[in-house]
Symmetry: C2
Subunit: 260 residues, 2 copies
């Protein structure tokens, strides 16, 4: 198989011979960062039709095109659908970071939810998606997480057990206080009970409001978990919970299938 040194997400149907114009940032990245030249090869994926080898046509710092050659990995090669992440929006560097890291760790959905103590007042959904795409390109995924529009937490959870999209999906609540099983124990117990679909829910820097936390814990589809004895920043908590779920009950148990 043709070795490649870069991967691009291209939101089009992929077929052999297709010529795709590069977006200016893509061309810039391939030319200036990766130092690729005409005739070089990259991998391309669209989230549905596997990964394809593509050959670079003429291109420069901000323009150019690639021509699709052949499929190199089937879509089934992707480890598949990971946990969702519901998170209170954070300030700029931390929300960028969170979108990137959750994507690397296999998130299927990134869903910002407004909580009582959330300290930012808008979410740039396009920027979240750009971060998710960049991380998906880098980490070898064949999909990009779906980025949902921000909703108040109550609205996001209101239809949870009845909505076909979320029914049966357990919410793992990262709780800073109150009764909660340690996450490794909770994840192992859910795995034993056949639970494979979860959404990890994390609060803002100030934590959940006490009555908000009480209300969440009372919901029948919520499992509160503890993340140990220290106070974690909101982004650390989200990433730690995500990594632990994947390691104990998710696709973290699969071997690396890259660099071999």
């Amino acid at each position: 198989m043709q070795p490649v040194s870069a991967r691009l997400f291209i939101d089009q149907e992929l077929t052999a011979g297709l010529v795709v114009r590069l977006e200016p940032p893509q061309a810039h990245y391939l030319h200036t960062v990766m130092r690729l030249r005409q005739g070089g090869h990259v991998a391309v994926f669209n989230g549905r039709e596997g990964e394809w080898t593509a050959r670079l046509g003429k291109f420069g710092k901000g323009w150019g095109s690639v021509e699709l050659v052949e499929q190199r990995r089937p879509q089934a090669d992707d480890p598949g659908i990971g946990p969702w992440l519901l998170f209170a929006p954070l300030k700029r560097a931390r929300i960028d970071f969170l979108a990137q890291k959750a994507t690397e760790l296999g998130a299927a959905v990134l869903w910002p939810v407004w909580t009582e103590h959330t300290a930012v007042d808008r979410v740039n959904q396009g920027r979240l998606r750009a971060n998710a795409i960049e991380a998906a390109e880098q980490c070898g995924r064949l999909t990009v997480p779906e980025v949902r529009a921000a909703l108040p937490l109550g609205e996001a959870l209101a239809g949870w057990p009845d909505d076909p999209a979320t029914a049966g999906r357990r919410v793992i609540l990262c709780a800073e206080k109150g009764a909660a099983a340690p996450i490794a124990e909770a994840a192992a117990a859910l795995r034993e009970n056949g639970c494979t679909e979860v959404a990890i829910l994390t609060g803002p820097e100030g934590g959940f409001a006490p009555r908000e936390l009480d209300g969440l814990v009372d919901l029948p589809f919520v499992t509160p978990v503890g993340l140990g004895p220290r106070i974690l920043r909101a982004d650390t908590a989200a990433l730690a919970a995500f990594a632990c779920w994947q390691a104990v009950a998710g696709d973290g148990r699969q071997p690396p299938h890259h660099r071999d």
Copy 2:
């Protein structure tokens, strides 16, 4: 107990009545960020003598002092000695991030190690320590991780089994390829065997060199682990491995003892 809204690390012996001059950044932080005023209270720790309540004297944006009142938590209240992190140095934002997150997750030692593919050529040890202190203040720890001077990886490991400081401490190698147990499985097995002291070792953005990885895997005190099917960035890998170890075999199994 006097409620406090900020914590300060002060590297001095702590006794009741002691008056400590604030460093300009500390005074700035308390005055401008936390909006505290004379007579307000903060918590103070030095890594050895627990946490103390301190009262703010006269102070302004870049000057001032605090007077120690009484001990509020004994040193034994700290969850104790966590894993070490040996890591190939990364570029600025990522190494800052790594030092902060590893501190929040309970690292006892932060030790930069040069590997074959490491792409940065110096480490600012003072900056690493400043990041560790800031994170320790924020997360409620009673200690600050020891930040070691950077060494070539081979030198750091050369005396490992014979050095009293490292003898018996298992090295958990985050391996991007080759035979490696998934981290949750490896951590549970080590825990079953009574292993409580580990050092987590992560490579640079380009990964370990093949012969470097082969050499590491051959060392009798090294356990290679896998972190799942995707290619994680170096900082993500370190954070994920650290969080998983703490959750499965470390103090992540303790309940939160804060915000109650």
